[in-house]
Symmetry: none
Subunit: 203 residues, 2 copies
């Protein structure tokens, strides 16, 4: 943003105050009255300067057609979006990060660690569609019925979690076209990366 003069700043403040007070922007005459100018052209030239410097927009030929340009906020580091990496677990290594999303940490209640972009339709009936982002919380506190991000060997998948016995775990899809994954922990190693605590869909 370019430099601004003291007088131009007064005009800018005047516009802001006027909108706050009345709900609509001032006319040239209004600005003159507020700031003690005696000619509407005084306001006009200041407005043109403010427009040129990018502080306001002026809609030509339109009464009160002044709008404030809000400076774009510098986004903070948000939460990483991670793709389902074919081999290996979804780590937070930078090469796996698609981009980051700016949102409050408490967005999904108790907090979460990253977003995972969903591939496939195996959880369709749970309302989880392809390309959705599920908010994943890294935890081992898993209960039956939770939607978990699980890694079996080098495969990462999202499913309902059901512990059938101390040795047997079922990973259950929400789509009748897919079959349950039945795991005997004595034969196959499984690692729970975390559980889904929320979802975001960008159309």
């Amino acid at each position: 943003m370019k430099e601004i003069t003291i007088q131009q700043n007064k005009v800018l403040d005047c516009i802001q105050e006027y909108i706050n007070k009345t709900g609509f922007p001032p006319t040239r005459a209004n600005i003159c009255k507020e700031l003690g100018f005696k000619s509407p052209n005084s306001a006009e030239t200041h407005l043109r300067a403010l427009e040129k410097k990018g502080f306001i927009n002026i809609e030509s030929g339109t009464s009160r057609g002044i709008s404030l340009v809000n400076p774009v906020e510098i986004e903070e580091d948000g939460f990483p979006i991670i793709g389902l990496v074919a081999a290996g677990s979804p780590t937070l290594a930078s090469e796996n990060i698609e981009k980051t999303v700016n949102c409050p940490p408490t967005f999904f209640g108790s907090g979460f660690d990253y977003f995972l972009r969903v591939r496939g339709l195996s959880m369709k009936d749970a309302g989880i569609m392809e390309d959705d982002l599920i908010a994943v919380k890294k935890t081992q506190d898993i209960r039956n019925g939770d939607i978990v991000v699980a890694r079996i060997e080098d495969e990462v998948t999202v499913k309902y979690f059901e512990r059938k016995s101390p040795e047997v775990v079922h990973l259950i899809p929400a789509n009748e076209d897919f079959k349950n994954i039945e795991i005997d922990l004595r034969e196959t190693e499984i690692h729970i990366e975390g559980k889904s605590v929320g979802l975001i869909r960008e159309n």
Copy 2:
């Protein structure tokens, strides 16, 4: 707050939209263009009714001198969550707002206006479940296949939009347990509040 008619509500929403879009309130002519009226007096009488009922203030003799009595604060990054109101459209009036959600305005690409909490499972196969929040963008730019928030009489619903002919519109659920809603525009009035541009699920 007193009762409000459907047409008056449209005018009220139109004013809110216009301010959000441009930064300043509309003229009578602007309202006519937005809502298809052919006489500025159509807007005028609605404005007077809204003023009488306390929804707006009108500054006499002042261009664009309309101000909303209960304006929705456009916070830096707070968006209102609105419940499906039985009677009338989901307005941004404060009594309809559940709470607000902090998230960047550009969260869902081109921007949106509010969140609507979904009731029922009529859009289940589109991955929209009960209690999900859909991000709604207020627009009349609807294409076939879009997921829209539509109001028929006093009923608000979320469905796929399909225009079959200039006079016939189908609202199609994404759930085989629900039937298509077929609307003849010559018999039944329909108002498109906006379209879904994203979704958030809080577990």
